[in-house]
Amino acid sequence: MDKDINIKVKVWRQNGPKDKGHFEVYPLENISQGSSFLEMLDILNENLINEGKEPVVFDHDCREGICGICSLYIDGHPHGPDEDITTCQLHMRTFDEGDTITVEPWRSTAFPVIKDLMVDRTAFDKIIQAGGYTSVNTGGTPDANAILIPHDQAELAMDAAACIGCGACVAACKNGSAMLFVSAKVSQLALLPQGKVEAAKRAKSMVAKMDELGFGNCTNTGACEVECPKNISISNIARLNREFLKAKFKD
């Protein structure tokens, strides 16, 4: 049964990219365990505003676990200490009376902090722009049923396509590697006949962009897979490696 709890939140405050940043501890009273983690932060912000202070800046939008914008590192886990969820789906019942909850932004060179808990993830967009698509213009496409795709193949592609681009994989990775993100898109398209045509080019250009943007080298710790809110499998990374090496050896 949900009850009201008293907690402390230890939040990273950083007033802009160049600021050094520091932690602030805020006590909060009578927080319902039925409220979501972000609603708890809303209450904190409401308190701060009423005290004439600046609210904590954090990214949030759909609040139903699909837009992928939320990006909080809570008590040692990207998206907090619960399984298969994004930060916005984390509820206060995960915490107990008297807890001090540490909230930090994603930490990675490729994701610089903008303010407080908000980070810049345009690097992910740039990777997709480098090749995360099929080169088809609008119109003139064949009938949707013209090419048969085996059920299991489509399901596998969908497993990979479920990625929400939140960056938890990078945040969890001790190497700051974006391989899970990149491999999900490369896999999705390599598994489908429509994407297969450009698979080699796509793998090469997306990996090149990923390297250029300063993401680290994957050492297969599997931390990304554990923290991925959408359960993207690291098998996709093996597939990306395969696609990439195949492409390079063909050259």
């Binding site: 590192y73 040692g76 930490r107 969890a172 923290e227 990439f244």
Partner: protein, 224 residues
């Protein structure tokens, strides 16, 4: 071929191949060591006649050194890059993401193994092959006896055992990870490959440890 240096997957490909090559070498090495338990004469034959100062042994040695060199240099290179990618500020609430200990400490494990290697090369290889090649006095042809002398010291045995345990950790992650990086993995094979890796690492490390311990206890040259 510049992608083997410039691209992250290329670099890891090199690291994986060199790692897999070194695993093959270790397999060969442990098999040869096991001979010590059974017969010194055979071992000495293998060490001196088959290997020793023959041209193929020299070429082999160079290749193995090259393998180690590449593996070590790339590991330094990759680790430095990865630390940079991670950024200067660490997490205050240190990561609680469950991941195998070995996967997170490959570099440290590698460092332990590399330090051990220096000792090992001095104690064994320098005495056997190096001295002979460079005509330094005191080259040993009674290799088995040399090994017995070395392992008579309990502290050396302990050091060796520690290094082999580090090697075990290194290999349990290294084997499947290398195959993963060369693209030879999927959901179904993941478990199998990890299992094969564990069996392989166990065989290699238990083999090495068994030889060191048994020789120390005098259970060697049993079929002499």
């Amino acid at each position: 071929m510049s992608w083997l240096i410039k691209s992250s997957i290329g670099r890891k490909f090199v690291q994986s191949l060199s790692g897999l090559f070194l695993i093959l070498f270790l397999l060969f090495h442990v098999c040869m060591n096991l001979v010590l338990i059974f017969n010194y004469e055979t071992y000495n034959f293998l060490a001196n006649e088959m290997l020793g100062a023959n041209w193929w042994a020299i070429v082999g040695t160079i290749v193995i050194f090259f393998g180690f060199g590449v593996h070590i240099i790339y590991s330094i290179f990759l680790t430095l890059q990865n630390r940079k990618a991670r950024g200067n500020i660490r997490y205050e609430s240190s990561s609680k993401t469950p991941a195998t200990w070995s996967s997170k400490n490959m570099f440290v494990l590698g460092l332990v193994i590399a330090l051990f290697l220096v000792l090992h090369l001095y104690q064994m290889w320098y005495q056997m092959q190096f001295k002979e090649l460079f005509m330094i006095e005191g080259a040993r042809h009674d290799s088995a006896q040399l090994v017995e002398e070395v392992f008579s010291n309990i502290w050396v045995v302990i050091l060796y055992v520690v290094a082999f345990i580090a090697l075990w950790f290194h290999l349990t992650h290294g084997f499947w990870s290398a195959l993963h990086t060369v693209g030879w993995n999927n959901d179904i094979w993941m478990k199998r490959i990890k299992m094969i890796g564990n069996v392989l690492s166990a065989f290699i490390c238990i083999g090495f440890i068994a030889v060191a311990v048994l020789m120390h206890l005098g259970y060697s040259n049993l079929l002499a």
